[in-house]
């Protein structure tokens, strides 16, 4: 018999807003891991995702601004995964409107994949926060 076991059941449950690392990690690459005090992992993720996005921009990759067909829509969703990087690049007018050279096509893929990798990193930060993945 363990009459006082009920309060102990919630001892390891996460405190506060558990979605904060997810949202922060989506807005700023690596920020979700910084919030759960995984400094090294966060720095490496930020470096990898930021490098990929910047490489895509300097290769004159296309930053999707609207969706005319299903492929544009998928690219737009991928770009949105970069969070503030995408918003900043739209505001500052980075990237090309049209893909004219082969390198720009590579760049477009780099930008989309950077967004998708950022979503994976943000979900990983959320899993660390909730305890689904051990710290």
């Amino acid at each position: 018999m363990a009459p006082h076991s009920a309060p102990a059941a919630g001892k390891d449950s996460p405190q506060g807003f558990v979605y904060l690392p997810l949202i922060a990690g989506w807005l700023v690459p690596g920020a979700g891991h910084f919030l759960v005090r995984k400094w090294g992992r966060g720095a490496l993720l930020a470096l990898a995702i930021l490098s990929m996005f910047v490489l895509g921009i300097v290769m004159q990759g296309k930053v999707y601004s609207s969706a005319h067909d299903i492929l544009d829509m998928l690219g737009f969703v991928g770009d949105l995964g970069s969070g503030l990087l995408y918003i900043g690049s739209r505001v500052l007018g980075f990237g090309a409107d049209q893909v004219q050279v082969t390198t720009a096509d590579y760049g477009t893929r780099f930008i989309v994949i950077a967004g998708l990798l950022n979503v994976i990193a943000a979900v990983d930060a959320h899993n660390l926060r909730t305890g689904r993945k051990p710290l």
Binding site: L45, S51, M52, M59, V101, Y106, R109, A114, V123
Partner: protein, 59 residues
């Protein structure tokens, strides 16, 4: 404008993607490093194999 060769673009892509995969898909630093290297080798290796395959088909 940065204009890498196709292979350089593959190397840069593989480096960044395998870094993220390694960190997010494994739990300990040693396993992260091993999985990251594994992903990098698969990215680059599959690009080389597919390139040779397409070259031989086109001949």
């Amino acid at each position: 404008m940065f204009s890498p060769s196709h292979f350089t673009a593959v190397l840069l892509f593989a480096l960044c993607a395998s870094t993220v995969f390694g960190i997010t898909m494994r739990e300990t630093p040693r396993r992260m490093l091993r999985y990251g290297l594994y992903c990098f080798a698969l990215f680059v290796g599959s690009a080389i194999v597919l390139s040779w395959g397409m070259y031989l088909i086109a001949r």
